[in-house]
């Protein structure tokens, strides 16, 4: 029983990191309908920006914020100058995915060229260990869970309570109609890519804190569980991605606690496949999203 409670706690901590990245990924997809595989390498970029800053004595949480802003700006540029022109020229969706894969590989090796291929670390950042109702979490894990919760809540309020959020949802739902209603859809896209890029950069630093040691493959490795979380929640649905992240994280930790840990990801992805067989559009599929938009 003790191990069960502990594993759920570890799962929430892992899930929070996955959710951070998955929400950003889902927002990007929802806004642009582009499966952006470069997202993984942008997370890696965030982790390395964090490394540069922490090596210079900057506090790791301030580094997280700065990395988020920088990766957000890079994401806007990436969308505006590479992906948007391809979409405008009618490039097929599959070809655009390949472009994002290629751009991700290029970015990954640019990072290697500057930082080298060996393992890096921010050093020990876990801080004090807390024991609460059988759950064991370090200070950094608690901070990441709180950070994820605050960012999710902020995103929720932005999307549902502000004019900007309504404009983003309208653009995501029907870009042409939104334009005809006077919404500056290009600007809205830029803002959406900035926000999702910020989540991506923050997720990269959070991942680097969690894994303790990382290299240039960090982002691409964790992109798969993040996409899984986004798909599980219903691709394009930020709330679904949050829940998807928690499901993937907790399933993975429970598998490690009670089965052969070598199969922890097999169990997590097995659950994903079964859930999608039951709910093909994810936990928060199209019908739920439509209701939210109409609200």
């Amino acid at each position: 029983m003790q191990l069960l409670i502990e594993a759920i706690g570890f799962g929430i901590a892992s899930g929070a990191v996955i959710a951070l990245g998955a929400v950003g990924f889902s927002v990007q997809f929802g806004m642009s309908n582009v499966l952006n595989i470069t997202y993984g390498s942008l997370m890696t970029l965030g982790a390395y920006i964090g490394l540069v800053l922490t090596d210079r004595g900057v506090n790791v949480w301030i580094s997280l914020a700065i990395a988020g802003v920088v990766v957000g700006a890079v994401s806007v540029g990436f969308h505006r100058w590479l992906l948007a022109p391809l979409v405008r020229r009618g490039t097929r969706a599959f070809a655009i995915v390949i472009v994002t894969v290629s751009a991700g590989v290029v970015l990954q090796y640019v990072i290697v060229a500057f930082a080298g291929p060996d393992a890096k670390s921010y050093g020990e950042q876990s801080g004090q260990t807390f024991y609460l109702l059988g759950v064991v979490l370090t200070a950094s894990q608690v901070a990441i869970i709180v950070l994820a919760a605050v960012l999710m809540l902020g995103l929720h309020l932005l999307l549902t309570r502000t004019t900007l959020g309504r404009a983003m949802r309208a653009t995501a739902s029907n870009r042409v109609l939104a334009q005809s209603c006077g919404i500056a859809t290009d600007r809205i896209s830029d803002i959406a890519w900035m926000l999702s890029g910020m989540l991506c950069g923050a997720a990269g630093v959070a991942l680097a804190i969690t894994t303790v040691s990382f290299d240039f493959t960090l982002g691409p490795i964790f992109l798969i569980p993040m996409i899984a979380a986004a798909v599980l929640g219903g691709i394009g649905q930020p709330y679904g991605a949050m829940l998807g992240g928690l499901v993937v994280g907790i399933a993975s930790e429970l598998a490690a606690a009670y089965t052969n840990p070598a199969y922890r990801e097999v169990v997590a992805f097995g659950i994903l496949v079964v859930m999608l067989l039951v709910r093909p559009n994810g936990l928060f599929g199209a019908a739920w999203a439509t209701r939210r938009l109409m609200a």
């Binding site: 191990l3 502990e6 594993a7 570890f10 901590a13 892992s14 990191v17 996955i18 060996d118 393992a119 670390s121 050093g123 020990e124 876990s126 260990t129 064991v136 370090t138 991942l207 969690t210 894994t211 303790v212 040691s213 990382f214 290299d215 493959t217 490795i221 964790f222 993975s252 930790e253 429970l254 490690a256 606690a257 052969n260 840990p261 070598a262 922890r264 990801e265």
Partner: protein, 433 residues
């Protein structure tokens, strides 16, 4: 009718066989054939693809050995060239490349490499071509094999596992937790370790296989803590190790268990990654690195290292190679094969192969030599020799495996290592049954 033909054929076949045998159709008993021109030493390793670094690492000992051989008159007057044969690290892709090399390379008389990823397909090919070779693979499948041209001077992965157990018990640890990453190298250690531990009076408190590069190993760490082992027997890449040990430190109030791991982890990457997470004091005092014996104070090692430093192509990686066993085994293997050629008075593999064991076997009155030049000189003077190389005294079993001795090392604060004890190779082999 058929019976008559058979009766006529039998004496004819006997006569044919007799004539062929008299003409020297087989074996070392007939006059050894001669070759002209330089000899080709095949370095069968990945030179392209993700494991291409291994080709570079194995070419270095080839260059070191052949530089010394050629500077000392070559093998019975033949200069020796290192020939790169790209096995790509893929067993299927290796087949056409190695087959082509065997068919087209002139005087292809010896080989090194044939590493774990491709050994299953390359070993039968090279053995079938009657080319003696010293392999660097650690696969347990070759611990008992039937290939007459096969030789291995580094321990099989199962022997490494048994050596981990011996060292842990020697340090007084009776209960171990085994945590290995799920890759072929790490998991190859398991059979030897799990078989040796009970025979040594120890017990296995927990045996976990973990995936690489997880975001967290907290659940696995909790299982290890709950098992209360005396020591952690570990094998994983630097990043996975750092993440796991970081989680362990957080979840166990900063207390970490002692660790026994492989000398494969004697790398700057492992040292830096783990030190940054758990601190230099733990890394230098609580981690033992166990692997094949590699004394860096012997004359054989001095010659090897000097040769690596002298060649501009190997100079830069000489410090790295100084701590890695398999390339040193390849260097020794080249010297042994070259001396066997001189002893057999031929460079043809099917003839000199039977002399390889004679080069290393102890004999009364034999001159102990530590390099090719001394061996060639002694043989020219009509003396018997016993080669003792960089990896020490080879003791080949009937399968041509020489696990050698094992040692345990500890990290120094600068990332280099110091040997802190030795483990008898014969004890390890006994534990494997």
């Amino acid at each position: 009718m058929g019976i008559h033909r058979l009766r006529l054929a039998s004496p004819l076949a006997l006569a044919t066989a007799f004539v062929l045998a008299a003409c020297g159709g087989s074996g070392a008993s007939s006059t050894p054939p001669t070759q002209t021109g330089p000899l080709s030493l095949g370095v069968i390793a990945p030179f392209t693809g993700p494991a291409a670094e291994f080709g570079t690492l194995l070419t270095a000992p080839c260059l070191a050995a052949t530089d010394l051989i050629n500077a000392n008159g070559g093998v019975s007057g033949h200069q020796v060239n290192c020939t790169s044969i790209d096995d790509t690290g893929d067993p299927a892709d290796a087949v056409p490349n190695v087959t082509k090399a065997i068919a087209t390379t002139s005087n292809f008389d010896f080989a090194i490499g044939l590493e774990s990823n491709t050994a299953a397909t390359t070993v039968p090919l090279v053995n079938g071509a009657k080319i003696p070779f010293f392999t660097t693979n650690g696969l347990v499948a070759f611990t008992k094999n039937t290939y007459p041209y096969y030789y291995r001077m580094t321990p099989g992965d199962d022997a490494n596992g048994a050596a981990f157990a011996v060292w842990a018990v020697q340090q007084g640890y009776k209960s171990v937790a085994i945590v290995f990453q799920n890759n072929i190298g790490s998991e190859g250690n398991l059979p030897g370790l799990t078989s040796a531990m009970p025979r040594l009076g120890g017990s296995i408190a927990l045996n976990l296989t973990i995936p690489a590069d997880s975001a967290s190993y907290s659940a696995e760490v909790e299982r290890v803590i709950a098992a209360k082992p005396d020591v952690l027997i570990w094998s994983a890449d630097p990043q996975t190790t750092a993440t796991f040990m970081g989680n362990y430190k957080s979840l166990n109030n900063g207390v970490l268990p002692p660790m026994v791991t492989a000398t494969d982890s004697l790398t700057p990457d492992f040292f830096n990654a783990v030190t940054k997470v758990v601190g230099i004091a733990y890394v230098t005092s609580k981690i033992w690195l166990v692997g094949s014996y590699f004394d860096q104070t012997t004359p054989a090692f001095s010659t090897y290292k000097a040769a690596l430093l002298a060649d501009s192509k190997t100079h830069d990686i000489a410090p790295v190679l100084s701590t890695v066993g398999p390339p040193a085994g390849a260097y020794d293997g080249i010297n042994i094969m070259a001396l066997a050629m001189i002893m057999a008075k031929t460079t043809v593999g099917s003839y000199y192969n039977s002399y390889i064991l004679q080069v290393v076997s102890p004999k009364s009155g034999a001159v102990v030599v530590n390099n090719f030049a001394d061996g060639a000189k002694a043989l020219a003077a009509g003396k018997q020799i016993q080669y003792i190389g960089v990896l020490g005294k080879p003791t080949f079993d009937k399968y041509h495996n020489s696990a050698g001795e094992f040692d345990a090392n500890k990290f120094n604060s600068d990332g280099s290592a110091t040997q802190v004890g030795t483990i008898s190779g014969s004890q390890v082999l006994q534990l494997l049954g």
